[in-house]
């Protein structure tokens, strides 16, 4: 059941990314190009996605998930060094070519060699992040 729900959620996420045009790097870079011909499409995608999720979060205030367990607690970490550093690095890479993790995977089948290169580099970056995050976190504890 958990696997079926995960497959369904992943598929619906991929279909939504495709339909919304968010696998088109020009649309994403167009949104980030405030000094040029600004394309607000990404804002509509975000707004459309936040709406059902805001309702879903309200429903988590009581009860449990369908497959049991409990709903995820909010992170107690607050705005810390790793959050800010990570968001800065991610944003720089996102602006560079207009791909973030969801669309990079959704467009894998038609993204050509470049799409595959991006995914491999992204996974390499994820592996490299593990020791880095530990260092940032331990420094935060000392501070």
């Amino acid at each position: 059941m958990r696997l079926l729900i995960a497959l369904l959620a992943g598929g619906l996420f991929g279909a939504g990314l495709y339909v919304s045009g968010m696998t088109d790097t020009h649309k994403v870079q167009g949104f980030l190009d405030f000094a040029g011909a600004w394309d607000p499409t990404l804002m509509f995608v975000m707004g459309g996605a936040i709406l059902p999720m805001a309702i879903a979060w309200r429903r988590t205030q009581s009860g449990t998930p369908l497959t049991g367990g409990s709903f995820p607690a909010a992170s107690q970490a607050g705005v810390n060094r790793s959050l800010v550093t990570g968001a800065l690095l991610f944003g720089a890479g996102w602006g560079l070519v207009g791909l973030c993790p969801g669309p990079a995977m959704a467009s894998l089948s038609y993204g050509g060699l470049g799409g595959a290169v991006f995914l491999v580099a992204m996974i390499a970056g994820m592996l490299g992040a593990i020791p880095l995050r530990r260092r940032l976190d331990s420094r935060a504890h000392l501070a």
């Binding site: 999720m53 879903a56 470049g114």
Partner: protein, 142 residues
């Protein structure tokens, strides 16, 4: 132009419903970087089959739609593979250090009114905008 915005909002609704299914069904936050990155991080617990099922849907369904679409989508990705590689590394590093990307911090965090999600989203959009401004308008590289 306007049709792009309508399709954007419609696709966005689908993305939000996907996140709601994952949350209410499995009690999990739908963050693309976390679901992929957790596969390679032993500290993230034993959710490998669930992650793989999610990724199969995320990659497989757009592949099928792309085959059936009379005007198939294109990524328009730059042919400069060095740039693509640097961008991929930065996105991988940044999303795992910062614990989230556009779906986790953006969609799931903002809808929960999470301060971390909102701050991260403002920072990565600003960093992305500065990068585009620097590379497109100052150097003409992209």
């Amino acid at each position: 132009m306007y049709s792009d915005w309508i399709m954007g909002a419609f696709g966005g609704l689908m993305i939000g419903c996907a996140a709601a299914v994952f949350l209410l069904g499995n009690g999990r936050i739908m963050g693309a970087s976390g679901i992929l990155g957790g596969l390679f991080d032993s500290a993230e617990g034993n959710l490998r089959p669930e992650r793989l099922a999610f990724l199969a849907g995320l990659i497989g369904v757009p592949a099928v739609i792309h085959l059936l679409d009379p005007t198939p989508a294109e990524t328009g990705l730059t042919g400069n593979l060095a740039l693509v590689m640097i961008a991929g590394l930065l996105v991988g590093l940044g999303t795992r250090i910062g614990n989230g990307c556009t779906s986790g911090h953006g969609v799931c965090g903002i809808s929960r009114l999470s301060l971390r999600g909102m701050v991260a989203t403002v920072i990565y959009i600003s960093a992305g905008a500065l990068t585009v401004a620097a590379l497109r308008h100052l150097t003409g590289l992209i």
